[in-house]
C-alpha cells in the first residue's frame, strides 16, 4: 500500500482539515535542505521525491499515535521532525509524510527548585532559556542556534557552547515520551511512573535513553516520534534579561554582569598555520589543567571559522575581517561564572591566570582587534543564541569536514590528521580550491566536555552551493572519514547512521545486526523515516554503496 487519498482522509479525521495538507505549494517548504553539501547533492538526486506527499500537524501525543498507526495501516513512511534543520528531516522517497510538531509547543512545567523543564517538540531553546533565565537557570546553547527545537536537538544530536559543564544533548535529556513506530506509546524515567513527576531519567530498570539514542546521534526519527521530554536546566547567575545594545545585526551584547567574565587566550609563540598542531597541543594542556582544577563554565578552542562567523555583522564584514587578519589564528575562549559567589569568580580567575602562565599562553589584551571583535561582539552568543546558520555566512553553504569524540589529546590528533588530508586533497587534486580560506580544513573547534573528561571536535569546509563544489566537499569529507578508518581512529565509532551502518557496522562489533534487529522489532513495516534510520535488513554491499554515492 502507499499514501493514498484514503489515508489522507484518515489523517484529516485525526487532526482536522486545517492541520493537514497535501497541497504541493505548502509541502514545498518541507522539501529541501540547502546548507549541507550533502543536502544539496541529495536534492539533485532525489528531486521531487523529497517533497512530502503530505504535511500533518498533530496537537497531542494521541494524535501522533493515530497518525503513526495510520502510516502502519497503509504502509507509508513518515518523518517526525523538530524545526526541520537537519537533512534527516526530509523525505527521500515519494509518498512520505512529514509530521510537523508546530502545534505541540507547550512548556508544560518549569521546575525551578529541581532544575528541569518538561517540554513538547516545538519548544525552542530560545523560549525555554528566556523562561529559565527569569528563574536563575539556563539551558545549554546549541551551535545549531537557539531557534531549533530543544526536544529534537536532544533526541538527535547537539553540541553546545557551555558543554564544558553541560556535556552534550543526550546528557541533558531526562525522561521522555515516545510514540514507537508501531504506534505504541512508551514513557521513560520518572515520567513513566504515575505521580512521580518528570524530574529524572535512569529507569525504572534499564534506561530507555539508551534505546532512544545511540552513539553521537539519535535514530533520526527511525524509532518513532518523541512527543515530550523533561530536560535539565543549569544554574544561571547572570542577568534575568539578556543585555543588548543596538539594533538588528548591529546589536551587541555587553556585560553579563558581575557574575560573569570572559577571556581570550592565545599562544603567540606558534606560527600559524604551520605550527597549528603545536598550538592545539598547548591548548589541550590548558584544558587538561583547567579540568583538573574544575574551574570555568565555558572552555573551548575556537578555530578561525567560528571567530569570524560569530563576530561578523555582514558577509562583507566577515570577508573584510579575513583580509585584515583580525583573527590570525585560533584562540581559546574561557568563561567564568560565579555560581557560588564573586569570591569564587576571583578565585577561578586567579587559578586561570596561573594555569595560563604554566602552559605558556597569554591573555589577549582588551585593545587587540581580536578581543574587541570577539569579546565585544560575539562571546555572549556562546551563552544565548548559538551560531544559528552563521557558519554558512562565508559562502552560504558549509559542512562539517570531520568530527570525533574522545579525549582532548585524541581530538587534537584527529584535527591534525584530518586537516592534513584536507590540505593534501587541495594540493594534489585541487579539491576545495574555490572554498573560503583560511576557514576550510584549517584549525578546528575543540569542545572539551564535562571538565575535559572527554572532548569533541569539528573541522569545517566552506564551499559554495554549486553542485560541483558540494561534490568536492563530500569528497574531502569522505577522504577524512577514510583516513579515520585507515588510522583505526576512535572516530570509527561515530560514523553510524542509515546506510553507514551497513558500511561500518562490520568494523564496529557488527553493531548493524543489533540495531537492525531493534529496527525490525519496533518498525516491522519500516515506516519510521526509512531514508535515514538504518534499514531493517542488512543491505547488500552494492545497495549501500549506491546509497552512499560510492558507486
Amino acid at each position: 500500500m502507499a499514501f493514498t487519498e484514503v489515508a489522507y482522509k484518515a489523517l484529516q479525521d485525526v487532526v482536522g482539515d486545517e492541520n493537514v495538507t497535501d497541497d504541493p505549494v505548502l509541502c514545498q517548504a518541507y522539501s529541501r535542505v540547502q546548507w549541507l553539501p550533502g543536502g544539496v547533492v541529495q536534492r539533485e538526486k532525489c528531486g521531487l521525491n523529497m517533497r512530502p506527499a503530505c504535511v500533518v500537524m498533530p496537537g497531542s501525543t494521541e494524535e501522533v499515535q493515530s497518525i503513526i498507526k495510520i502510516a502502519n495501516r497503509y504502509s507509508f513512511p513518515f518523518i517526525p521532525r523538530g524545526s526541520g534543520f537537519t537533512f534527516q528531516a526530509f523525505p527521500t522517497q515519494a509518498g512520505t509524510i512529514v509530521i510537523d510538531p508546530k502545534r505541540m509547543d507547550r512548556i508544560i512545567e518549569l521546575n525551578e527548585k529541581d532544575m528541569y523543564a518538561v517540554i513538547e517538540p516545538y519548544v525552542s531553546f530560545v523560549g525555554l532559556q528566556a523562561e529559565a533565565m527569569k528563574r536563575g537557570l539556563y539551558t545549554p546553547t546549541p551551535l545549531a542556534g537557539s531557534q531549533v527545537s530543544c526536544l529534537a536537538n536532544y533526541s538527535w544530536h547537539g553540541a553546545y557552547g557551555n558543554s564544558w559543564i553541560t556535556g552534550i544533548g543526550a546528557q541533558n535529556l531526562l525522561g521522555f515520551e515516545l510514540v514507537l513506530p508501531d504506534g505504541e506509546i512508551v514513557r521513560s524515567g520518572s515520567m513513566a511512573c504515575p505521580g512521580a513527576g518528570d524530574f529524572w531519567n535512569d529507569g525504572p530498570g534499564p534506561d530507555l535513553r539508551g534505546f532512544l539514542r545511540g552513539g553521537m546521534f539519535g535514530h533520526a526519527g527511525g524509532i518513532g516520534m518523541v512527543t515530550k521530554i523533561s530536560c535539565k536546566l543549569w544554574q544561571w547567575a547572570g542577568p534575568e534579561v539578556f543585555p543588548t545594545e543596538g539594533n538588528a545585526n548591529m546589536k551587541f551584547s555587553g556585560s553579563l554582569g558581575e557574575n560573569w567574565r570572559w577571556y581570550m587566550i592565545k599562544f603567540p609563540q606558534f606560527k600559524y598555520p604551520e605550527e597549528e598542531e603545536k598550538e592545539m597541543r598547548a591548548s589541550a594542556e590548558l584544558f587538561y589543567e583547567m579540568g583538573k582544577a574544575q574551574i570555568a563554565e565555558v572552555a573551548t578552542h575556537l578555530a578561525q571559522q567560528f571567530l569570524y562567523t560569530y563576530s561578523s555583522v555582514t558577509k562583507q564584514d566577515l570577508h573584510d575581517n579575513i583580509k585584515n587578519d583580525v583573527f590570525p589564528h585560533s584562540y581559546c575562549v574561557v568563561g567564568l561564572h560565579a555560581k557560588t559567589s564573586t569570591s569564587q569568580l576571583d578565585y577561578e580567575e586567579k587559578v586561570l591566570k596561573a594555569i595560563v602562565e604554566k602552559v605558556g599562553a597569554v591573555f589577549v589584551e582588551e585593545d587587540e582587534p581580536a578581543y574587541q571583535t570577539w569579546i565585544k561582539r560575539a562571546a555572549n552568543e556562546w551563552i544565548r543564541f548559538g551560531n544559528a546558520q552563521r557558519l554558512a555566512r562565508p559562502s552560504d553553504n558549509f559542512s562539517i569536514g570531520s568530527s570525533n569524540v574522545d579525549s582532548i589529546d585524541q581530538i587534537v590528533n584527529e584535527i591534525t590528521e584530518c586537516n592534513k588530508v584536507g590540505r593534501k586533497a587541495l594540493e594534489d587534486d585541487g579539491l576545495g580550491k574555490d572554498f573560503v580560506q583560511p576557514l576550510s580544513m584549517n584549525g578546528g573547534w575543540i569542545s572539551p566536555q564535562e571538565y575535559g573528561y572527554w572532548c569533541l571536535h569539528t573541522t569545517d569546509v566552506f564551499p559554495e552551493q554549486a553542485v560541483d563544489q558540494c561534490n568536492q566537499a563530500m569528497e574531502i569529507i569522505g577522504r577524512c572519514a577514510k583516513s579515520q578508518f585507515e588510522r583505526n581512529s576512535s572516530a570509527k565509532a561515530i560514523h553510524l547512521l542509515g546506510p553507514a551502518y551497513d558500511m561500518f557496522g562490520p568494523m564496529v562489533g557488527n553493531i548493524h545486526h543489533y540495531v537492525k534487529a531493534v529496527k525490525r522489532e519496533f518498525d516491522p513495516n519500516n515506516v519510521s523515516n526509512p531514508g535515514y534510520a538504518t534499514t531493517p535488513d542488512v543491505m547488500p554491499e552494492e545497495d549501500w554503496k549506491k546509497m552512499m554515492g560510492i558507486l
Binding site: T21, D23, P24, V25, L26, Q28, A29, Y30, S31, V33, Q34, W35, L48, S83, G84, F85, D100, K102, R103, I107, S124, V126, G127, Q129, A130, E131, G145, S146, Q147, V148, V241, F242, T244, G246, N247, A248, N249, M250, K251, S253, T314, K315, Q316, H319, R384, F385, G386, A388, Q389, R390, A392, R393, P394, S395, D396, N397, D434, V436, E464, Q465
Partner: protein, 431 residues
C-alpha cells in the same frame, strides 16, 4: 522576470528557521518568542520566509507552476503583511534579501496576471478614479483642514518650507481626522512654516507597490514627484508610516537613487516633533498620569530606514559587486516616538517584549487586512495580548493602519485597552 532578480537569495536559504523567531537575544518569554504573523496563523512552514524561499525555488525549477498552483500561491504570497520581521531576523545571520523575495513574488504574481487580489485591485482602481484608496471624492480630502487657515501649496502663490502630507486614511477615515488636526495645531504652535496639498493631494501609491503592481505604482509616484517639486518644499512631514516609507524608500528605489539623493527630505511626524522638542519649540507642561506602551509600526521602524540603491551582482561566495548596503532594521525610527513619550510629564512608558526592529506586526500591512481580514484580526489580537501583559491600559502608536487594526483586535478579544495616536498625548501635554 521578477524572481530572477532574487534567485540567489531564495535558493541560498539555509532553512535554519531564524526567520521564524524574534531576535534570539531579545526573546523574553516563550509566549512572545515568535515573529512571523503569517506563520503563526498559517502554521505550515510555507507561510514563513523560509517557505517562500522554497516556493521561489520551486517556481524557478518548474516544480511548482502558476497554472496549477495559483490559488495556494496567491494565498501564501498575499496572506502576509510584508512586515520584514523575517528579513531582519535572517539578516542577523545571513545576507539574503528576504524582503526582496517577498516583493518579487508579488511582482511576479502581477506580471503573470494572477495578482494582485481583487481587494487590492479595488484600492488601486480607487486611486485611479479618486486619487485615494477609499473611493472618496477628491474635494473632501482636505475637509479636516476647513477653517484652519493652513497654506495650500497646490496653489502656485503659496510656498512653505515644510509640506505636511496627510495621506488618504487620515484625510478620509472617520474618527482619524484628529491626527491631521493635531499635527496642524502642533506645527502652528511651534511656529513651523508649513502647508498642505489640500484637495490636490493624491495617494502615495505605496499600496500598489506593496501588492506588486509596479506599473500602477510608478504612475502614481511620478505624479507625486511632480507635485512635490511644484511646491518647492524641501521637507515633507507625514504621519502615515506607509507614506513615509513610500516616499523615503520606494520612490528612491523606483528612481534608482539613494534616499539621500531625493529632491526632498521626508520625516515622519514623530521625528519632526522630536526635533521641535529638542529645539525648544514644543514644551510640555501638563501631566498625563498614565501608563502606556508603544507599538512600533513596521513601516516606521524596521522598514523606515533610508534606502541605498544598488545595482550589481553576486560574485564569489555570494559577496556583492559593488558592495551592497542592505537595510537590516538598524536605523529605523525607534527612538523618536519613545523620546516624545518620555518627555511627557507623568507618562510612564512600559515596553512590550517585541519592540523596535523585532516588533510584532499589527497584521494589516501589505494588503493583508483587506484581503484576509481574519488573519489581520488574529495578528492584532496577539499584539493586544502582548500589550495587556505590560499592565498598561493604553497602546500608543502613530500609524492609521495599526491604529485601526489594533482597535479591531481590542474588540476581538474584548479587551479594555485603548489605542491612542501619539499626537493625542502630545497635544494634551503641550503648553
Amino acid at each position: 522576470m521578477a524572481l530572477e532578480k532574487i534567485e540567489y537569495d531564495a535558493t541560498h536559504c539555509q532553512r535554519c528557521s531564524t526567520c521564524k523567531w524574534t531576535h534570539l537575544w531579545e526573546v523574553k518569554s516563550h509566549r512572545f518568542a515568535r515573529n512571523c504573523p503569517s506563520l503563526v496563523y498559517g502554521k505550515f512552514d510555507s507561510y514563513s520566509a523560509q517557505g517562500k524561499n522554497d516556493i521561489v525555488t520551486g517556481l524557478l525549477s518548474g516544480e511548482l507552476s502558476w497554472e496549477e498552483n495559483k490559488d495556494t500561491l496567491l494565498e501564501v504570497i498575499y496572506r502576509c503583511p510584508v512586515c520584514a520581521a523575517c528579513d531582519v531576523s535572517c539578516k542577523r545571520v545571513m545576507d539574503l534579501d528576504i524582503i526582496g523575495v517577498l516583493d518579487a513574488l508579488r511582482e511576479e504574481a502581477c506580471e503573470k496576471g494572477y495578482g494582485p487580489l481583487p481587494a487590492h485591485k479595488e484600492f488601486i482602481q480607487s486611486i485611479s478614479n479618486y486619487d485615494n484608496v477609499w473611493k472618496q471624492p477628491r474635494s473632501r480630502r482636505a475637509g479636516w483642514a476647513k477653517k484652519l487657515g493652513i497654506k495650500d501649496l497646490s496653489k502656485s502663490d503659496e510656498k512653505a518650507e515644510v509640506l505636511y502630507y496627510v495621506g488618504c486614511t487620515y484625510a478620509y477615515k472617520p474618527g482619524m481626522d484628529s491626527v491631521p488636526k493635531n499635527t496642524a495645531a502642533i506645527l502652528k504652535q511651534a511656529g513651523v512654516d508649513f502647508g498642505i496639498l489640500g484637495a490636490k493631494e493624491i495617494c502615495c501609491g505605496g499600496i500598489a507597490d506593496n501588492v506588486g503592481d509596479k506599473k500602477s505604482f510608478e504612475e502614481i509616484a511620478k505624479k507625486n514627484l511632480e507635485l512635490f517639486e511644484s511646491t518647492g518644499a524641501k521637507l515633507i512631514v507625514t504621519n502615515c508610516p506607509g507614506c513615509f516609507m513610500t516616499f523615503s524608500e520606494k520612490y528612491a528605489k523606483m528612481k534608482k537613487i539613494n534616499t539621500s539623493d531625493l529632491p526632498y527630505k521626508v520625516m515622519h511626524s514623530t521625528q519632526y516633533i522630536e526635533q521641535l522638542i529638542n529645539e525648544g519649540k514644543i514644551k510640555f507642561s501638563k501631566n498625563i498620569d498614565k501608563q502606556v506602551t508603544w507599538h512600533d509600526p513596521c513601516h516606521l521602524g524596521r522598514r523606515g530606514e533610508p534606502y541605498t540603491h544598488w545595482e550589481g551582482k553576486r560574485v564569489q561566495f555570494g559577496l556583492t559587486e559593488p558592495p551592497r548596503v542592505m537595510n537590516r532594521g538598524v536605523d529605523g525610527i525607534y527612538e523618536a516616538p519613545r523620546n516624545i513619550l518620555k518627555a511627557i510629564p507623568g507618562l510612564k512608558l512600559v515596553e512590550m517584549e517585541r519592540i523596535k526592529e523585532y516588533s510584532w506586526c499589527c497584521g494589516s500591512g501589505g494588503g493583508a487586512k483587506s484581503a484576509y481580514p481574519d488573519f489581520a484580526l488574529t495578528t492584532a489580537k496577539e499584539r493586544i495580548e502582548e500589550a495587556e501583559a505590560t499592565g498598561s491600559g493604553t497602546i500608543v502608536t502613530s500609524c492609521p493602519w495599526c491604529e485601526a487594526n489594533l482597535i479591531d483586535g481590542i474588540d476581538g478579544i474584548g479587551s479594555n485597552m485603548k489605542v491612542d495616536d501619539i499626537l493625542d498625548l502630545v497635544v494634551q501635554a503641550m503648553d
